[in-house]
């Protein structure tokens, strides 16, 4: 349970003491309550017992590794945001982690400010996840009328484009794998290529981006998938 008015609680699972203490100090300085674990078993236990609001999780750990932790928690119905920490060049792992239910990832070494921004973003996310009208930039997506407006003008979207944009907005600031997008927007049953996501992204960009080949909103995350960024909101 979260106490009204109290600081958000964050669990850091990381075995490298330098990184672990660095995170702890910075997060505490930013006003969060921090618990730490230096290996997997204890991490899972703390997550279960204390139900933190967010978890920062290293992939390479002694004992249970990050994937296993992630999967276990999700299987047990825990749905707090999980941000994974990964060494450079482990993109394949990142895809795996995201598909197992992680929400985002950071590649070491990372800027502490980027981390803090992501954390802030996640802790705020549930509140705006499913409102009737979501605005970003000069546009607003109306889930009731199924319309997208820019400066009050209708931008025609096909059903798939609308569904994709809707899903991306619900997960603003998160890196999403193509699998995640397919499951959410196409439905897990349907069998289509991952390239269909790319195609839909392209056509959506051509309608919402000023310069579709230099997207400001719907960014490509190489080897992973896509991320919707809203500069107004994410800072």
């Amino acid at each position: 349970m979260t106490n009204p008015g109290s600081a958000s609680r964050i669990l850091v699972i990381e075995d490298d003491p330098a990184i672990m203490f660095g995170l702890k100090d910075n997060l505490e300085m930013a006003g969060y309550k921090v618990r730490t674990a230096i290996e997997g078993e204890l991490g899972v236990q703390l997550a279960r017992d204390e139900r933190p609001d967010l978890i920062i999780l290293d992939i390479m750990l002694p004992g249970l590794n990050g994937f296993e932790i992630c999967r276990e928690l999700r299987e047990d119905g825990f749905d707090m945001p999980i941000v994974m920490l990964t060494a450079l060049g482990q993109e394949a792992d990142v895809v795996r982690g995201l598909n197992l239910g992680a929400d985002d990832y950071l590649t070491k070494p990372f800027s502490i400010n980027v981390l803090l921004a992501r954390v802030r973003n996640f802790l705020r996310r549930y509140r705006q996840a499913e409102l009737e009208i979501v605005s970003f930039g000069s546009m607003e997506l109306n889930r009731t009328s199924k319309e997208l407006l820019r400066d009050g003008r209708v931008i025609e979207l096909t059903p798939k484009e609308f569904g994709l944009l809707d899903y991306l907005l619900q997960n603003c600031g998160r890196a999403l794998t193509r699998d995640q997008i397919l499951n959410a927007v196409w439905g897990s049953d349907l069998v289509v290529t991952q390239r269909s996501v790319d195609r839909c992204v392209t056509s959506l960009r051509s309608k919402i981006e000023e310069k579709p080949n230099q997207p400001k909103l719907l960014k490509t995350v190489q080897k992973i998938g896509y991320r919707f960024d809203d500069e107004e909101r994410s800072r």
Copy 2:
């Protein structure tokens, strides 16, 4: 049934007596008629029998919980606004509630003024559903005489066409699924094809649209259903 001109009726389903009475008093002071239920079964019953204009619904309830109430009512075609009340830290639940058809939510403890503002807002949007005469473009629909006039001239509508137009006007600007339309206009018991909706839409268009194949009012929303747009009034 709703009496034109009378105060809007609000149903409060909430088991905590302190909150329940607080809501009741405040809403009555603001001029609404209030019914209350302290558990789910009774709440659903009252909603069915009295068809309030708006429901304020706690999620945690003895008996049927808020989600179940919400789903049941929506499945039966009730479409009054539902505002959910949720304890802090249940934001994940909120998403679920909104998916089940709730329209808005408030996190306890909430300011009574915020609540009143939301309620007023919802009721304003739905009020025109109760008007005797609704006008759009150069036409007006008279619910008492069951006539549609354009520039003072009668346009002959069949009963089904009238019912459809009436329902669409009550939900002006909202994309409606064929199922919603069937439930509301045909009645949930009757078994007819979804295509009947299409057919009725076509014949209605031929009577109210300038160019029936390029509709300005009664728009198709691909893969969903239809939406009535009134450009004068909306935005």
